[in-house]
């Protein structure tokens, strides 16, 4: 994969013109619009404005660069949505290399050789899983087929499997490709395929579901999470479905196999339908339930809108999906063209997932990053791909934000911008405490400071004890993995905010803030926030001795000021929404 995911194409640069600023308030900050694209509407009264385009890119893709907005406005809503729905699956494929054990070494060799071979298998397997996730993230970054990747991520949280249980990365990869293939296709076909998916059969223990000792794990989740939702079946239905799924397992080549000897061929009654059902019959019975279309439509709408639809709208979509024979494309098209999808309570009101936050930031920055940095970073923020917290997948929305993840999102933005280095992530526990002398003096005997502190509040850092502590605390923690992904050389993003600024024509502090907010945020920033940013930018600029209007001169110092501003913008509550 190339590491240059999203650089503006030169022919589009000419289009990036500055539009006149209108509707200024007293301090020169506009009340609603921003400096560049957003005030350019296709038609003055059209609902298809930059805000709508950006909303569509946020939800149906992974965020928009200014150039995407420009193109989206010109293309028009219908064509753009049509393009997203087609979801042409282009770009280089990931080629799976089977991790095969060397049986000679594993069986014949001495203990040392066997250990070596086991380690090799473990490492190859882990590496392949990691490489695949890097590939996946790079597809999100490059935006070749945004809605397909968006829905693949949705289905990964819907039909969860966990690599720590499945263990074989190859099977997780196959499952992900299956989800990608059907992401915009037919839900019925997808559900049929998932019931025969090796990773799923392992993850939900169906490999040990036999007629003599049935295992209900897959049966339960198939109804509760994959098709009907709680309350639309009985415990008896679960037992019957489990019997119908007996013998669905995998063979030595890790492929799906129907093991007739383990299958229960007797009659079952599932949701009132009697017959000698197998897995295929089960899925057909589930698909025929009105609850199924309701569950699937509701889950998709809730995911993309960030809020559950009201009853009336849900019924309309469920009926539409059922009539369309579970074809997802038409339903998604209807949704993305629905004015309700663009209503004020929805636009800019969803807390972005870690993947949305990181991928979106990179796309808007036009930053080139290693996929691994995003995969690890998302893990640090609570979203490890291939390792959902449980079979229900991730809790979307406000649950993403804790005190720690809010700070770590900002820190990762700093890493992406190169304003934070790997060394800082593995910070010394005792540095950067800001204590006044009075504070130190006020510490009672409970805090014997004299040994631990010296000078102006800097804590002593040299002791071997501290070093040891630092190491043990950082070991295995996700921050350390992020730091490793950054690498010892640090992350040096190939971006020039100065050059972008120059092209935009912005030069005053106010114009720079307007431009950066419109470029880096997925939503419109409120006036009070932009005011605060202007003050912060002025302070930093003056501290660096840079004259007003001189930030567009492409000096190192100016670029640093701009990157710090970008870092601050991406640390804001506003940057968590999309």
């Amino acid at each position: 994969m190339k590491n240059m995911p999203y650089l503006p194409h030169l022919t589009f640069l000419a289009l990036l013109v500055t539009s006149p600023v209108t509707g200024q308030s007293v301090d020169g900050l506009e009340d609603r619009g921003t400096l560049d694209l957003r005030v350019l509407k296709s038609k003055p009264d059209s609902a298809w404005d930059a805000r709508a385009v950006e909303h569509l890119f946020n939800r149906a893709g992974f965020g928009a660069h200014n150039l995407d907005l420009r193109r989206g406005l010109r293309t028009g809503q219908k064509m753009l949505v049509g393009h997203l729905i087609r979801g042409e699956d282009e770009g280089p494929r990931f080629v799976v290399r089977p991790v095969e054990p060397d049986m000679e070494m594993l069986k014949g060799g001495d203990e040392e050789e066997r250990r070596k071979e086991r380690n090799r298998l473990r490492n190859d397997n882990r590496r392949q899983g990691q490489e695949f996730l890097n590939w996946w993230v790079s597809r999100m970054l490059e935006g070749q087929s945004p809605l397909r990747e968006r829905m693949t991520l949705f289905w990964h949280g819907f039909f969860t499997s966990d690599s720590t249980k499945v263990r074989l990365a190859e099977l997780m990869i196959d499952q992900n490709e299956l989800l990608r293939e059907h992401a915009l296709g037919n839900f019925g076909e997808l559900l049929h395929a998932v019931v025969r998916d090796p990773a799923m059969l392992i993850y939900l223990d169906n490999t040990s579901n036999t007629k003599d000792s049935p295992n209900e794990n897959l049966a339960r989740e198939l109804m509760e999470l994959f098709s009907l939702g709680e309350g639309n079946y009985t415990e008896e239905d679960i037992r019957e479905v489990a019997r119908a799924l007996t013998g669905y397992g995998i063979d030595r080549r890790r492929e799906f196999v129907f093991n007739a000897r383990a299958h229960d061929f007797t009659t079952k009654t599932i949701l009132g339908v009697e017959g000698r059902h197998d897995g295929r019959d089960v899925v057909d019975i589930l698909l025929a339930q009105p609850a199924c279309a309701r569950w699937v439509a509701g889950s998709i709408i809730t995911y993309l809108e960030g809020a559950a639809p009201d009853q009336e709208r849900l019924e309309a979509y469920a009926e539409f999906l059922r009539e369309a024979d579970y074809e997802l494309g038409p339903m998604l098209e209807k949704l993305l063209l629905d004015p309700e999808f663009y209503r004020d309570e929805i636009v800019g009101a969803r807390v972005s997932s870690p993947i949305d936050y990181l991928v979106g930031a990179c796309r808007r920055l036009g930053a080139d990053v290693r996929g691994e940095l995003i995969v690890r970073g998302a893990g640090l923020l609570g979203m490890s791909l291939f390792e959902p917290p449980n079979v229900k997948g991730w809790n979307e929305g406000p649950a993403w934000i804790t005190t720690a993840t809010l700070m770590n999102r900002a820190n990762l933005a700093g890493v992406l911008l190169g304003t934070i280095g790997a060394g800082e992530m593995l910070v010394d526990p005792l540095d950067d405490m800001e204590l006044t002398e009075e504070e130190m003096a006020s510490m009672g005997p409970e805090f014997p400071l004299d040994e631990a502190m010296m000078g102006d509040g800097e804590m002593m850092t040299a002791s071997a004890e501290v070093e040891k502590e630092k190491k043990s605390r950082n070991q295995g923690n996700l921050m350390a993995k992020v730091a490793r992904a950054i690498g010892s050389g640090g992350h040096h993003p190939r971006i020039s905010l100065g050059a972008r600024l120059f092209r935009s024509g912005a030069s005053s502090d106010r114009e720079i803030v307007e431009f950066m907010c419109s470029s880096l945020l997925a939503i419109d920033a409120p006036l009070e926030t932009r005011r605060m940013l202007v003050a912060a930018l002025r302070t930093d600029r003056e501290a660096q001795g840079i004259e007003p209007g001189a930030l567009v001169k492409k000096t190192m110092a100016a670029e640093q000021v701009l990157r710090r501003l970008a870092h601050l913008i991406l640390s804001l509550p506003e940057a968590q929404l999309g």
């Binding site: 609603r32 720690a404 419109d524």
Partner: protein
Amino acid sequence: MTRAMQQLLARRQVLAGGLYGLGGMSLATPLAKGLQGLSDETPFPRSLVLVQLSGGNDGLSTIVPFADDSYAAARQATRLMKGDVLPLDDYRGMHHNLKGLHRHYEEGHMAIIEGVGYEEMIRSHFRALEVWHTGRRAGRISGEGWVGQLAQAAWDTEDHPNLVVHLGGEVPYSVYSTHHPSAALQAPTVYKWFGKQQVELAYGMGAARADSKKPAEPKHAGRDKALASLRSVLDDAHDSSASIRKAAALYRERVEYPRNRLGGGLRDVAALIHGRLGTRVFSLKMKGFDTHAGQRGSHDSLMESLDTALSAFMDDLSKSPAGRDTLVLVFSEFGRRVKENGSKGTDHGKAGPMFLLGSSVKGGLYGKHPSLEDLDAGDLASTTDFRSVYGSIIEHWFKTPHEVVLGKKYPLLPLLG
């Protein structure tokens, strides 16, 4: 600090109502209060430390019924003999690696509650955890976590970000609350903004709050609602980061903690307690108890880590007045199958023991050891409801009606002296 920055800060404090100063150390923070006026004699607020053994701890290898013939018959590779245990009486003993805990038990500061569970126990990890985390059989759909409900019932007026603190990765549902969201951190050392973000953010948010008082544009209704709650997390992060890092850096432990995760986490808990941050509930997790295969070696070392970490914490606190005001509750989502499986491990089971530690605890055995013959589908049947344990702590320790938190009344245990 540059002069410009100082000016910025001065303005920020006016705008933000002087809520916090640089690095969060204004007079308003609980830590500062602690440092200024409080002596060693000032009582600490009562607190509870929750330790979750994730994966389902094998109770039979923790509190071992070595004298039970059915135990001997059911276990081979995982069986502990009389000589392998620290005896509690002539029927049961503690795992041989629980030396420190055994000492605390002998000293009367450890309650062991046997056969804990609930009706119709669940063998799925996450569903079982939902029950433990909400105190309700229905799990998450019943509402917020039990600690969240406790916070609302007992400390609704104590509005500060460190009321409930989770140390570690994924935040357990037990502390989930919309009114009192927990602070969450991996380690105090990295619980911060790198760079000078916090200064500007705090400044800006003060200003933003002042400005956003004016009626919102309908167009931005959704955004502004979401922003309001994110800004409050930002405030919490700002205060919490400064106070927690400071408390952790300044704390001098009185004993050496083991260099394992739980040890590190409990050391931080001790630091936060002594930093007087006003935290009422701490939450920690220890992973690795899902021992389906080759259990003996891994469980032995889990027991050692658990023991060294917990007893270091207990020893540390016993040397401080805070020891009287701190309880530690150890639980796991389920015990394991009585009969060993084919791979020298054990599968998911049902009832298991809980521990309650602290110098205010009335030590000893509680509940009833479940029968190893009269099984519930191959598992130990529960003899004590875990909500009786929660309820006793809620009622007797936090002086709050337990049915308010747990939804109904449970028989309480005399766990506290």
